[in-house]
């Protein structure tokens, strides 16, 4: 970007190659934020964002299981957005493994916890090391899941990782609240993409029937909440897990 560009806030978003991460990156760029995104793979959709937004969209390939790559990504983003203010982090990257626990490979359990939980904590840590220096307000948003609150057969490790994120949000909110940095979890209900890939039509129908608002969660439902949580107006909300599930878990 040019040094003459007006200062913008910029946000780190993990897992931007598809699904919710891509929708978040697209929306935040449209809202006027700079976005530093990471994912394991680059995609045509990301190239399209680069084509439209140029340097306001920074991307780097990162495996969230690789903590040194996470730190390197944050430092590279700080350099790319030099002179602009890091405003926050959206910890969106996640993976899921399905299976009854007694037969779930230990390596799968470790990978899910590493990517979903350790990776998210380390991304927040690296970002906070930068944010603390300015002693200015900021936002950390962790995308968890209603499975972390209610559980779901076959998703034990995933649910544990997401419940862990919620606990992480609560603890970190106490740690950094004094400088005006808010930390919250957003727990989406079942979406047509991502997690629910492992659910069959019968299970999805059952979820819809049990949801007071009568549908699955849409990407836009989450994007709008994240947009609000990133805003100045949400500055007094911290340490919460905000559930967006159409009332399914009410």
């Amino acid at each position: 970007m040019r040094m003459t560009d007006a200062p913008r806030k910029w946000v780190l978003v993990s897992g931007v190659s598809r699904g919710l991460g891509l929708a978040l990156a697209r929306d935040l760029l449209a809202q006027g934020y700079g976005v530093a995104g990471c994912s394991t793979t680059f995609s045509d959709d990301l190239q399209a964002l680069k084509d439209v937004h140029g340097d306001w969209f920074f991307w780097q390939g990162v495996d969230m299981a690789d903590t040194s790559a996470i730190e390197a990504f944050v430092l590279a983003a700080v350099k790319a957005f030099n002179g602009h203010r890091m405003w926050g982090v959206v910890n969106n990257a996640g993976m899921s493994v399905e299976g009854i626990l007694s037969t779930l490979p230990v390596s799968d359990i470790e990978k899910v916890l590493q990517v979903n939980l350790t990776g998210a904590i380390c991304l927040a840590r690296s970002a906070l090391r930068q944010m603390m220096k300015t002693r200015k307000p900021g936002r950390i948003i962790n995308i968890s899941s209603i499975t972390g609150l209610r559980g779901y057969t076959g998703l034990t490790a995933y649910a544990a990782s997401k419940a862990g994120m919620d606990g992480f949000s609560r603890a970190l909110s106490r740690e950094v609240g004094r400088v005006g940095i808010t930390v919250n979890s957003v727990a989406p209900g079942y979406m047509k993409t991502q997690l629910s890939e492992g659910l069959d039509d019968r299970q999805l129908d059952q979820i819809v029937r049990r949801t007071p608002l009568g549908r699955l969660c849409e990407l836009a439902d989450i994007v709008h909440l994240v947009r609000f949580l990133l805003s100045e107006e949400a500055g007094f909300i911290t340490g919460q897990t905000l559930v967006v599930d159409g009332g399914l878990t009410s």
Binding site: M132, K133, R135, R178
Partner: protein
């Protein structure tokens, strides 16, 4: 050559000024927490992050090392740096 003690003094003063707290004399014997300085654990963490960046050293990379005074913290980062 700036000593690590000078660097800590400079950064602590900046942190205290930023938060609108009073600044006073800072010596090697000054207690970091629960002493004369109006700083808390978050301020101390901020100081450590800045010191790590400016010295390129990470004395806590393998685990926390206990320190109480400015001098003890300075010793962890070595006596001097360029």
């Amino acid at each position: 050559m700036t000593t690590t003690l000078d660097l800590i003094r400079e950064e602590l003063t900046q942190i205290l000024t930023d938060k609108g707290a009073a600044t006073g004399e800072i010596t090697a014997d000054t207690l970091l927490l629960n002493g004369p300085l109006d700083i808390d654990s978050l301020d101390l963490a901020t100081l450590v992050v800045i010191l790590e960046e400016k010295t390129g050293l990470s004395p806590f990379a393998d685990g926390f090392v206990l320190f109480h005074t400015v001098g003890e913290l300075a010793a962890l980062f070595g006596d001097a740096h360029d």
